[in-house]
């Protein structure tokens, strides 16, 4: 732990969904800080509120109560466009279903957030190549996304998440749709980029996937029930299958 300002500062976050007569409390007074360079797993069964938390961390949604800051920027009362800008510059998303643009090459997929940031084409290509090489897909730059295996698609998504060099890499069940052999490879990449100094928050319901992280926050019924340092994270073997 360092004494510098946290990348993520969540203070008394609540999220209440209101339908006609029913109030559902998805998040109930959740507070935590995440510092630069941490690899945090947020664990919890389905319905525990971890997805809601992920949406707030990802600036896809705003909390009903409490304050949420990412990289010193409060997101509680921002317009849709301002939130889009924060997602673009500060957060790299990795989704369970990869969410690559169909019939689009790997490099074009990785270039997408760079385009929304308004970078010139030459720089987009250069950066996209660099990150695709980093996830071991330097030889698949111009393959269409639907021609790649699940593991390869998720690597493209990781490269896309890293492309803007964000303050936070936010992964939502990153291995959920991948064969276990390839999942190991994905976790190896996470650990590698963690070692490069990136901050990673990973949402998962699988304890053995969470075990790769250096800190595990467990939530249940919208509350944090455990927040512990994992002193001996599982070391994932770099796989070669997916390449």
């Amino acid at each position: 732990m360092t004494t510098q300002a946290p990348i993520i500062h969540a203070s008394h976050l609540s999220k209440i969904y209101t339908t006609e007569s029913l109030e559902t409390i998805a998040l109930d007074d959740v507070s935590f800080d995440i510092f630069k360079g941490e690899f945090v797993a947020i664990m919890g069964p389905s319905g525990s509120g971890k997805s809601t938390l992920m949406h707030i961390i990802g600036a896809l949604d705003v909390p009903t109560h409490g304050t949420y800051e990412i990289d010193g920027q409060s997101v509680s009362h921002l317009s849709d466009d301002k939130l889009a800008q924060i997602r673009n510059t500060k957060i790299g998303f990795i989704f369970q279903a990869f969410n690559l643009l169909p019939r689009t090459s790997s490099i074009k997929n990785v270039m997408l957030p760079l385009r929304y940031a308004g970078l010139p084409i030459a720089e987009r290509e250069e950066r996209a190549k660099k990150y695709l090489e980093m996830v071991g897909l330097g030889h698949r730059l111009y393959h269409m996304s639907n021609q790649l295996s699940g593991g390869q698609q998720q690597r493209v998504a990781i490269a896309r998440g890293l492309a803007m060099d964000p303050a936070l890499l936010l992964a939502d069940e990153p291995t959920g749709n991948i064969a276990s052999a390839q999942a190991e490879g994905i976790m190896a990449i996470f650990q590698e980029i963690h070692q490069h100094g990136h901050t990673i928050v990973m949402i998962t319901h699988e304890p053995d996937i969470a075990a790769h992280a250096g800190r595990i926050i467990t939530i249940k019924d919208g509350k944090i029930i455990e927040d512990k340092i994992n002193h001996h994270p599982t070391l994932a073997k770099k796989d070669t299958v997916g390449q």
């Binding site: 990802g58 896809l60 849709d80 997602r87 989704f95 969410n99 929304y116």
Partner: protein, 407 residues
């Protein structure tokens, strides 16, 4: 600009994925724009054809027609009166008060049956003087036109239009032969060249006889059907109209202009009337074509709504990666504008082709104005924006969480 260019390239890629759907969406616009272009140009070429026709009847031309005669409370039919006489025509020709008129052509026209004994045909029989050929730009193919001598001597001669020749003398030279109108035998002295074209009446299905012959022998009527006048120049048409008008009022001893027993109109009056009429029809037809364009636009909107629904997850992803509302709106607007623009281009080609074919079939002028093409481009683009606006906004307002979850 760079961003727009990228979006355009991307949109072409997206639209190429579902070619059938794209094609069908475009088709509505093709039909709409195509029919507008075709109908507008059809209207214009018809208008042009009619104007040319009227112009070919003679420029600087004024026509005096007998007006209605009011006998007590009974108002006679316009044009059917018996108020113009040869004396009127001669007075116009000789009076020193008339300075703007070059030629005077007194005329009397009736329909009649002409026969050679073997075949016969129903034609317009025009009682004409020498001036007729000049005023109405009638030229002679073979033989001669009616001379002043023919008129003075009440000669039983006739000049035939080419259609009459085709009908009555398909195989032989008519000049020198004899035709009959009623009981009167007439010697053919000439054939006019074809004036051709279509119009209200066939300018070639005519026969000309000396006016005196027509009045005294054929029709037995001393009145004139009309007096055609050729003004000195096109500039003095209005003066000439006034000059002749007041001259005739004076001759007919009428002091109140509104009670004139004749009317004078120029070719320009006729052209204006016809243009106004065809213009109205063109507008009406374009309006109907415009409705199909509207339907095409609704088709585009429908397709775009389907596209937005199908691509909900993609939109969610784009928003998650930082696409602003404006970016999403622009992306979908560009797609719909590309659809309508392609439709517009094909529609213009189709419309021009149709009007070209029409001009070939009817041997009329091929008239497609640059304005209507530019307008079609503009309209198709505007339709893309208007009908793409709602789907694009719907896409832009999707919440990223909901959109990413969408199955």
């Amino acid at each position: 600009m760079e961003e727009i260019k990228e979006l355009i390239i991307e949109s072409f890629g997206t639209l190429a994925i579902n070619k059938l759907r794209t094609g069908l969406a475009v088709l509505g616009i093709v039909i709409g724009i195509g029919s507008v272009i075709a109908l507008v140009s059809l209207g214009q070429s018809t208008q042009q054809a009619i104007q040319n026709q009227i112009q070919s009847l003679g420029s600087n031309l004024l026509t005096v027609q007998p007006g209605s005669q009011n006998a007590g409370a009974v108002r006679g039919a316009s044009g059917g009166g018996q108020t113009l006489t040869l004396a009127d025509a001669q007075a116009i020709a000789t009076s020193p008060m008339i300075t703007t008129i070059k030629y005077v052509s007194p005329e009397l026209t009736q329909r009649g049956q002409m026969t050679t004994g073997k075949t016969n045909t129903n034609i317009q029989i025009v009682g004409a003087t020498e001036a007729y050929a000049i005023v109405h730009k009638v030229t002679i193919d073979t033989g001669v036109f009616i001379s002043s001598l023919d008129d003075a001597s009440m000669n039983k001669v006739v000049v035939l239009g080419p259609t009459v020749v085709t009908n009555l003398f398909p195989d032989s030279d008519p000049v020198g032969q004899t035709v009959r109108i009623g009981n009167t035998s007439l010697r053919v002295i000439g054939v006019t060249t074809a004036k051709g074209g279509t119009g209200f009446q066939n300018q070639d299905n005519l026969a000309y006889v000396p006016l005196s012959t027509a009045q005294n022998i054929l029709f037995g009527q001393q009145y004139l059907g009309s007096i055609a006048l050729e003004a000195n120049t096109a500039d003095v048409m209005t003066d000439a109209q006034n000059e002749v008008g007041y001259f005739l009022l004076d001759r007919h001893k009428i002091s109140d202009v509104t009670k004139a027993d004749f009317s004078i109109f120029s070719q320009q009056d006729l052209i204006n009337t016809v243009s106004a009429t065809t213009g109205t029809f063109t507008t009406l037809l374009s309006g109907i074509a415009g409705i199909s364009l509207l339907v095409g636009g609704i088709g585009i909107m429908n397709i775009m709504l389907v596209t937005v629904t199908e691509r909900t997850r993609e939109i969610g992803l784009r928003k998650a990666l930082g696409a602003k509302k404006k970016t999403i709106i622009t992306q979908f607007l560009i797609e719909s504008v590309i659809l309508t623009f392609i439709g517009g281009v094909i529609g213009i080609l189709l419309g021009v082709l149709l009007s070209y074919v029409y001009s070939l079939v009817t041997s009329s002028t091929f008239a497609v104005s640059v304005e209507s093409i530019l307008l079609a481009f503009a309209v198709s683009t505007v339709i893309g924006v208007i009908f793409g606006w709602y789907p694009a906004n719907r896409a832009a307002n999707l919440q990223p969480i909901e959109a990413l979850r969408y199955e």
